[in-house]
């Protein structure tokens, strides 16, 4: 199979739940994990006579997303009814936006593993309400309407991505922006950040799109690239063996690592959209938009620029440290206590992230707190312990969550800065290595390093390195 002959055309649709306290059109709590059907009311269960009232905060978070994604915000937009019958949609329609969404024409710039940047267009963002949740059992379908009416934005990308990596990077960048700006929790497992992908393949260089397949419910970052990769290969294989790609909806089966048909789609869904008669036009005044702009939280790119400036970090370091809001906050807390940007960056990126990755943990659940790490860095900077010992101490901190001080005390890790103690160690090394000492005296001065190393070993690595260096030279030369 010659994959290289083909390229994929991928567009993503992301549904992001907005971080409001209450639902989009009623006062029920917007909360995950409550007992079934306890966050419901006449509005979100579609009782006759009930009317929707728009949640102001939801509108503000939507505009915030549009600004963060460099989109145009339209001063006037229209809510529409999307009609379809399904048990988890009590009204028989979903309030959404169709012909006139509140925002269009944005983009995200993503970093690719080749080191290049790529700009991915965003076609539109619109508001809509979430549906309830159906659980299919052997005896029927159980419907929980706690999620019905939860505010969502749907972010539709241009079909600008050409492989699974680009799609993964787009999704990660989008996720990070929405979390940074406190728009969406971004918890894929809880379903508050959901992704569907439209995928087709064509011969490289062709300008016509192939028949597209919709891949639904990719509910984990781990699966996004895998699922898309699989689907591209499946389509290329089908085309190569002369099959016709059928327009259909498929879903990712993470147990079998394949995509499976959910439904054939011969005709477009007949949603019979029409303007929502229960809601007026959505109008954003200039004053309101200005207010929202003023209240914009810092975005990842801005944080990255600030980190580079304030702490003299490289592009790469800054991009790693702003990979998630939690990590950026952690780093910032370390620096504010350690007052050493470069060392803080190195410790967080090399020691902490390395160990977190190995332990499959997120920074939120780090066994070493930011303050504890900062304290360790201060102990190196003050000369209490050497950098080398600090790594051993950190290992212990990571395993036990204890403070550096108590580990240093327990294990007797205090750095030796006493010249008399160091001198006796150095003399012992010289006694044990008479021939090297003779060579040194005969002019082989690069043996200095050998003696420093041996003396460090003699002190179990606890010697103050600068002082030890100085003393070794002094003693050898006298």
């Amino acid at each position: 199979m010659s994959l290289e002959k083909y390229e994929a055309v991928i567009g993503l649709e992301v549904h992001a739940q907005l971080m409001t306290a209450s639902k989009m059109f009623c006062c029920c709590p917007n909360r995950y994990g409550s007992l079934p059907n306890t966050n419901i009311c006449p509005v979100c269960t579609g009782q006759p006579g009930s009317l929707p009232v728009i949640n102001k905060k939801a509108m503000e978070l939507g505009v915030r997303a549009a600004i963060a994604l460099s989109c145009e915000v339209h001063p006037e937009s229209i809510f529409a009814r999307k009609n379809y019958f399904y048990p988890d949609l009590p009204k028989g329609y979903q309030i959404s936006q169709y012909e006139r969404p509140y925002s269009t024409h944005g983009h995200i710039v993503v970093q690719l593993k080749t080191g290049e940047e790529k700009r991915i267009g965003i076609t539109r963002i619109h508001f809509e309400e979430d549906a309830g949740k159906s659980n299919h059992e052997s005896y029927g379908t159980l419907v929980n309407l706690n999620r019905a009416g939860v505010p969502l934005i749907e972010i539709v990308s241009e079909p600008d991505m050409r492989n699974a990596h680009e799609a993964g990077q787009y999704l990660r960048a989008l996720h990070s922006i929405l979390r940074y700006a406190d728009i969406c929790d971004g918890n894929m497992e809880e379903g508050n950040f959901r992704c569907d992908a439209n995928i087709s393949v064509r011969l490289r260089g062709a300008d016509k799109f192939g028949t597209r397949v919709e891949l639904k419910n990719i509910n984990s970052f781990k699966f996004v690239e895998k699922a898309i990769e699989y689907e591209i290969q499946r389509q290329v294989f089908a085309v190569e063996s002369g099959e016709k790609i059928i327009q259909q909806t498929r879903s990712w089966n993470s147990a079998k690592n394949i995509t499976e048909v959910m439904r054939e789609k011969e005709e477009a869904h007949d949603y019979r959209y029409f303007p929502e008669p229960d809601l007026p036009k959505l109008v954003f005044s200039l004053a309101w938009l200005d207010q929202i702009k003023k209240e914009m939280p810092e975005l990842p790119q801005e944080t990255s620029i600030r980190f580079k400036k304030s702490f003299e970090l490289s592009d790469y370091d800054a991009s790693v440290l702003t990979g998630s809001k939690e990590l950026a906050n952690y780093f910032e807390s370390v620096v504010s206590h350690s007052k050493n940007g470069k060392a803080s960056a190195n410790w967080v990126m090399n020691e902490l992230l390395g160990r977190l990755n190995a332990a499959n943990k997120e920074v939120e659940s780090s066994p070493v707190t930011a303050i504890q790490l900062a304290d360790l860095i201060c102990k190196i900077d003050s000369g209490e312990i050497s950098g080398k010992i600090a790594k051993t101490v950190f290992e212990e901190m990571f395993a036990t969550s204890k403070d550096a001080s108590s580990i240093i005390k327990e294990k007797g890790f205090i750095q030796i800065s006493d010249p008399i103690a160091l001198e006796s160690a150095i003399c012992k090394v010289i006694e044990n290595n008479p021939s090297q000492f003779a060579e040194y005296k005969a002019g082989k001065v690069k043996l200095l390093g050998f003696f420093v190393g041996q003396a460090m070993k003699e002190t179990q690595g606890q010697a103050n390195p600068a002082l030890l260096n100085e003393l070794v030279k002094k003693i050898l030369d006298r």
Partner: protein
């Protein structure tokens, strides 16, 4: 007059199964509804006119505050069958 196929398509979207008699009935009834809409189309309106009956200065938003609705049991007990505090429905196969 609405065709038999059109009525069947609408029934499918509404997940309804119609008898032969009902197909004929809805062909006539829905045609009358559409004729009425045709009459309404005589009224001069712009595309946006449709929502203009809600004056846009009537736009009013709700502050993001939770006010729990206390009678959710009342809502659930409207359902013919309840299981584990969920509405129990016959399983639908999508677009059968």
């Amino acid at each position: 007059m609405l065709s038999r196929e059109e009525v069947l398509k609408i029934a499918k979207l509404a997940r309804l199964t119609l008898t032969e008699e009902e197909i004929g009935f809805y062909q006539r009834q829905l045609t009358r509804v559409l004729d009425h809409i045709q009459d309404l189309n005589q009224v001069p309106t712009s595309k946006e006119g449709f929502v203009q009956h809600v004056p846009s200065d009537a736009q009013c938003f709700r502050e993001d505050r939770v006010e729990p609705f206390l009678n959710h049991d009342g809502l659930i007990n409207n359902a013919p069958v309840v299981e584990n505090n969920c509405f129990l429905l016959p399983t639908l196969v999508e677009h059968s």
